[in-house]
Assembly symmetry: C2
Homo-oligomer: 478 residues x 2
Amino acid sequence: MAKNITPRHENFPQWYQDVIQAGELADHSPVKGCMVIRPDGYAIWESMQAWLDRRFKETGHVNAYFPLLIPESFLTKEAEHVEGFAPELAVVTHAGGKELEERLVIRPTSETIIGHAYAKWIKSYRDLPVLINQWANVVRWEMRTRMFLRTTEFLWQEGHTAHATYDEAQAETIKMLHVYKDFMENICAIPTIIGPKPDHEKFPGALATYTLETMMQDQKALQSATSHNLGQNFAKAFEIQFLNPENQLQHAWTTSWGLTTRMIGGVIMTHGDDDGLILPPRLAPVQVVIVPLWREENKEQVIAHANKIKAALGEVLDPLRVKLDLRENLRPADRFFTWIQKGVPLRIEVGPKDVEQNAGLAVRRDNREKMGINLDAMKTQVPQILEAIQQDLFAKALALREAHTHELDDYASFKDLMAKGGGFVMAHWDGTRETAMKIQEETKATIRCLPMEQPSLPGKCMVTGQPSARRVLFALSY
Amino acid sequence: MAKNITPRHENFPQWYQDVIQAGELADHSPVKGCMVIRPDGYAIWESMQAWLDRRFKETGHVNAYFPLLIPESFLTKEAEHVEGFAPELAVVTHAGGKELEERLVIRPTSETIIGHAYAKWIKSYRDLPVLINQWANVVRWEMRTRMFLRTTEFLWQEGHTAHATYDEAQAETIKMLHVYKDFMENICAIPTIIGPKPDHEKFPGALATYTLETMMQDQKALQSATSHNLGQNFAKAFEIQFLNPENQLQHAWTTSWGLTTRMIGGVIMTHGDDDGLILPPRLAPVQVVIVPLWREENKEQVIAHANKIKAALGEVLDPLRVKLDLRENLRPADRFFTWIQKGVPLRIEVGPKDVEQNAGLAVRRDNREKMGINLDAMKTQVPQILEAIQQDLFAKALALREAHTHELDDYASFKDLMAKGGGFVMAHWDGTRETAMKIQEETKATIRCLPMEQPSLPGKCMVTGQPSARRVLFALSY
């Protein structure tokens, strides 16, 4: 067990902080609630960006950049939007040595400033759809912050699209929800439950908010991305109008969708163990680390052999991301430990005997399984092992979620479960905000979403006994 | 001639604005001095980022992310630094509905907040060098702004490194200067003159600032990137200290270097013509646009042939970035015009005759040269034409600079030249700030740099007659 990491069963939040510290993923900053993302943490974000950016472009989107600073008056144009974001705004009042005539807020999200631009650019149905994404930083002044999961400043992408009809906007909203699901499950190896939020939990100004809910190892839910159908709310507030083929002036239908650096926290809390970070191979910035172990008399041969292995792994069809650890003056155990704590999925140890046998010893990060592999077999076997790790991590996370997901029909059991640490509960709810609030006050559990991919059978609300159209997902959450 | 673009000889600044508008590169924003970078402008930035990011990594750097907001007190820790940046700061005074105890500034540059982090991370000579880059937005409250060239908010990369010795920091400063030179000349096709700034023009807090100066078509200089040797100034202000191998506590030596979205303006003003933008092929997000010209009766065959050409160009060793224009309801001239104004280096027109002849008509954006090319020859000829465009654009820019570069020894001629619109002047200067200021007041010309790649021969100052170690570069500038 790692001495620098508190075990999960003792204190899960402390374990989380310790894993970040041990992996050198992030650091505190002198500004309350802001974090420094260190190179090994940022590399994970770059890996996320690369996959998402490619997929956004494959689905017809282009990138652009809109201003960081937004006139305060813009936010007030959409009533629900300003109500939702006003308490979290950071405000610039002075600039260039003078007090500003109009206060500027640092973007908490960009629907307003982008809506203003779209109103200028969109004139005719021929200008639609507009499919733009932005990679940016945003600021939301949060009371309680936690690295990656909730920080005052965070990095994200925000997609903003405009369409001619409700149907097209709705199709875009659902399409991007599924892009996120693909990313979460097949790259991050995190199972998701997707569906709309109940009305009282949706994005301020949205018609509907779709979410991806994931279970962390402490059985709490993490909302990992959202996709909003904004209806005509922002189009009306910012006068995004177009002439349709019949020459009639219409308001556009808009969407927005975002995924943030919070997901790095999701990966840590889904896959990490008591020794630290474990990265899924498809996401890992370094997939394989080769650690040659030499003495002075065989240094040259051992390093030459390690380089041969590195070269072989660079020759596979989809070249692997491989690092060679040539650090001196460190004991082998300390060298291994670095890569364990940084979550590298596979380590290949190479010593003098491996030179003789033309082989290396592969050690999986997730289950510590060791396998001697001949150099000639590495090109085929190492990608297979990485793929197995990817699948096993997903299966393990799914098994955990299934073991802690319950269908409950009586509220006493529900309260009992939430008091004992929670889990995912599929239960009937009468559809009112009042009942949801009562449950939240009494148990801290909230409705995470109305799961789309599960059968929708009617029943009776576990609290009020009123009719319920379907079970919804309850959980304690981040 | 394009009707939507003012000719260069009539009004160069208006031409510049018109080209940006016509190419849909950027738009004004409701916040004074801030711009919206539209998709076609942002794609140029993405192309710049891709090349630079790869090169930074090849030279051993990693990316990280530091907070946007900096405590105001941090800036005051380095005396010259605060003096230089204080007039340009945007200040957050309120957040989360309350007045802040300490005012926060939006980063104008990140030496201070990064220095604070490095002081925590660096303990021993074994921790050095630290080689980190950040892609970020910064805010400097400017009085007079111009799209891309000088905006209140801009995007950039800022490298920040820490070293054990002066020599290593100086070597890094010069190495990155040459990375920028490679980028400017070989990707952007813009000739550069590199060298240190005179002391009174260096970065606030730096020991030495190295710059790349380029000539725009109006003969003004554009400073395109800078690389700073910061000495121990920030290390002392933020206590970045390390134990050397002899166990003595030493201050580190730091550098910083940056390149901004300003370079998009540099590309526009170096290569554009009276019809709009011209992009160098290696930088261009779209290198070749294929425009099929069909009638209803041959639509299928013409488009099929255009697709064959597209496929062929995707098969070359370094696949080309190709777009197929399938827009309907637009006259051919209007379709061509779009791509001319967006600066796409090569257009390939495909009509029914080209289907018969298994060919296409390639038209260069820079010199309008037209060449019929057989489909079978496209794979070899199109990359060659693109390479020729790249070389020709550089050669043309270099010829312009050479035609407008003068060695002058008398101040009367110098004043005369600057009054007539300027040019680059290599002249002797006595090395004092006073003389430089006198020249600037009388002519608006400033010393751009002390060119490193030109012979350093002594002479006499053109103004005071005092001894001068070498000629320096004077110009009017952006």
